[in-house]
Subunit: 361 residues, 2 copies
């Protein structure tokens, strides 16, 4: 069944069939109805490839889920608790705007070949990237080759010539979120506050460390490198980091750069005999689904994944359809989700003074 068949059955030319399908104004209602009747009757839908070949858009965007792991070839995006919700949100928003979503996973740098393939062969009109490291050269190349992109978690640059400046960028307010998390612990009376960092190749990794430092500085609490341990956003790294941390220090609170590491750290704390929050307070970041089910339920920082997905999809599609370079940058606010894993500490330091006590209310 093709447009020729429809034309023959409806007693018109293929031109007219095409005009009806594309809603041209100059088709009389009767002709239009006659053609539509045949189209409906035969479940006819124009061949997408033929249309594209004639220059119509494929109305397909790519969603590229990047999860570059140094060590393993065991890929476990399967239970990545973070990408799932975002992925579905992207699909929903795109579908609502009449776009299909091709999802592509990237575990090694060479997997970017899959993305180049669908871009150069004109299958997709644009792509959204998540899980990327900052300044990723593979993505840079794609942007420079003309792929329309929206990148999540990428530094917003001053340099106007930087390739990423030609991309839409959607970030959480990482610095401010980390700042607020640390400030929250300080206001609870903590001064020995440790930080388990995320993957420092990612914006969310180094920006959250920055927010942590900023809060300490503002409160006049000296930064101690012994209180900062490196993690890489996965649960096991939080677990190991907690052990390393307590070998060299004795913090009363921990700010973990994401919830997964906070969960790993809580596990280690339990094994080491520390109670949360009685002995050690802990706060995470991201508010993944699991966090509210933990005992104690994890206090964390939350940004709307839905909003981020919406911003990425809508702006990407706008930039595709308007054929202009829309390069907006967005920073989505982060708010505190107070649960059970943080506790006010008894204050026994000389630092304590009226003004400080007041600020804690």
């Amino acid at each position: 069944m093709n447009s020729k068949d429809i034309a023959r059955i409806a007693g018109v030319s293929r031109s007219t069939v095409s005009r009806v399908i594309n809603n041209y104004p100059n088709v009389p209602p009767e002709t239009k109805e006659k053609v539509l009747k045949v189209i409906r009757e035969y479940n006819y839908v124009p061949h997408a490839s033929a249309r594209m070949l004639r220059g119509k858009s494929s109305k397909t965007i790519g969603l590229v889920i990047v999860d570059l792991k140094k060590n393993s070839d065991i890929h476990k995006v399967y239970d990545n608790v973070y990408f799932g919700p975002f992925t579905t949100a992207v699909i929903d928003f795109a579908n609502q705007l009449g776009y299909n979503v091709l999802v592509i996973t990237v575990y090694k740098a060479r997997d970017y070949k899959k993305v180049r393939e669908v871009f150069y062969n004109k299958t997709i009109n644009g792509a959204i990237f998540i899980g990327v490291k900052n300044d990723d050269p593979d993505i840079k190349n794609l942007i420079e080759a003309g792929l329309k992109t929206a990148v999540i978690d990428q530094e917003i640059r001053e340099d106007e010539d930087d390739a990423f400046n030609k991309s839409i960028i959607v970030n959480m307010d990482n610095v401010n979120g980390a700042y607020k998390a640390t400030k929250y612990l300080i206001n609870l009376g903590h001064t020995e506050i440790a930080h388990i960092t995320g993957d420092m190749e990612k914006l969310s990794g180094f920006a959250r460390l920055e927010g942590y430092k900023k809060a300490l500085k503002e409160e006049g609490i000296p930064f101690k490198s012994s209180l900062v341990v490196k993690g890489d956003f996965v649960e096991e790294s939080g677990y190991k980091a907690a052990y390393r941390l307590f070998k060299k220090a004795k913090p009363t609170a921990i700010f973990a750069s994401n919830d997964q590491m906070a969960i790993g750290a809580m596990q280690a704390l339990e094994e080491m005999g520390y109670k949360v929050p009685e002995d050690v307070s802990i706060i995470g970041f991201d508010d993944i689904t699991i966090s509210r089910y933990l005992k104690p339920a994890l206090t964390t920082m939350s940004a709307s994944l839905l909003q981020m997905a919406e911003l990425a999809v809508e702006n990407l599609i706008k930039s595709i359809e308007e054929e202009i370079a829309i390069t907006a940058k967005f920073v989505v606010p982060v708010k505190l989700v107070e649960r059970e894993s943080c506790k006010r500490i008894e204050i026994q330091r000389e630092k304590m003074n009226d003004e400080y006590a007041l600020s804690m209310k």
Copy 2:
């Protein structure tokens, strides 16, 4: 940049370029190398639509995530803890076999239009369906219209003429899993075992009820309808079901048809003042990521989502490429994951006898 340009630059005809791309044997190595060099130099990838129009496969499958909700227009597949891991697994396996995956969400029956669209317009060559109700007429239509399909969680029928018999089907061993879960509780000494059912429009809903009944029957424990309450697989329904249940009965154990409802029920039990597992044992089904983090950690039944995804993808692609109707049916085994939410009960019934005690070891 198209094949004509490449041909011109390489000094050959478009025919030869095409032969090189498609790996025809009758191209001398030097010619081939000469052409490949130009192709590489210009990042040339043949236009996917043009190839398709000439009859090449699109190498794209659909993954249709169905989540039909009666009540709400708030769609929350976002945090559906079950679809996420399966989705990524499907994408990975498909990518490995050189296929792209178009993901489509269906929240209302009319959303199936999106699937029909990409099928009739030849964008996809086949599709995998998850979250479907048993005997869904919309899917039936698609199968009958010739879409190659793999359906997860669908009854395997005797009737050879049934449309679903033309589809690949991949199920968990629901009946056996539910049977084992119930048997496990019985072996722990329980006889007052309640069941919170899943959505009875789905195979996993009614098949798990069947397994529950089977185990009771085999052990000579009378089935009591007062111990069976209806749920629909979402957390809140488990929460409500637990309240309804304890209004009319006093079970010592609960088999919830999935983990999400088990979580909801645990919440209700806590509110009602029952301790798990001291007062009430509870077992779930699916082993979602959250379950291991619960306190007490949830004992549950687990099937390999990875294996299910692999079976669905590989067989679907086989059926597409071999152009024959592969209609294999698979039942993936389910195993017990013993954690902390179930406890042996003190036995104080006349029913207790030597043989029974033995079977409990």
